[in-house]
Symmetry: C2
Subunit: 105 residues, 2 copies
């Protein structure tokens, strides 16, 4: 497997690497430091807009960060579901089927 760091881990790592404080980054996001702290520790989820901004502020690869973010959203959705893994596979099938259809195949 490639990279398995959570969004929060990625954010905190990079922020510290850059020597930025919560207050610096949260100011740019226009939120309280408390929320960013929670996001970094996985206690709260960021929203899409914040993820984009964070990628920019911290020079993180935007696509990688968004993919990890969406993946966590999906996993959150099915975290207590026995049938979650099955549902994931069905969802993939249904996306693929749709792609096919809409590309004229």
């Amino acid at each position: 497997m490639k990279n398995s760091r959570s969004v929060g881990e990625l954010l905190r790592e990079k922020r510290e690497e850059k020597g930025l404080l919560l207050r610096h980054v949260s100011a740019e996001l226009d939120i309280d430091t408390a929320i960013l702290s929670k996001i970094e520790r996985g206690e709260r989820k960021a929203n899409k807009e914040q993820i984009i901004k964070l990628a920019e502020i911290l020079d993180l690869n935007k696509e990688d960060l968004v993919v990890q973010y969406l993946s966590e959203k999906i996993l959150y959705e099915i975290k207590d579901e026995e049938l979650g893994e099955k549902a994931l596979k069905v969802a993939e099938q249904q996306i693929k089927y749709n792609n096919k259809k809409n590309s004229g195949q």
Copy 2:
């Protein structure tokens, strides 16, 4: 692919097959007929509890219905996302990795 009917289609088909009216089924669910109508036509989502009850009332395979229900929830979550499909795959990988870990491998 096996079965690609949406939750709504499954519900309406089976309800009509059984000769039940919206009012019969919605009474058992303790909601207005309007909502059930919308659920069947895909205009609203049911919640988990309702899905379970509906499977019972309509003699639908509970597992199949729940899987389709969860799949639709997942797809809804990423419907406007370019990176949705990628995120789905990452989510699967991460579930698998977790399974491994927690089974002592």
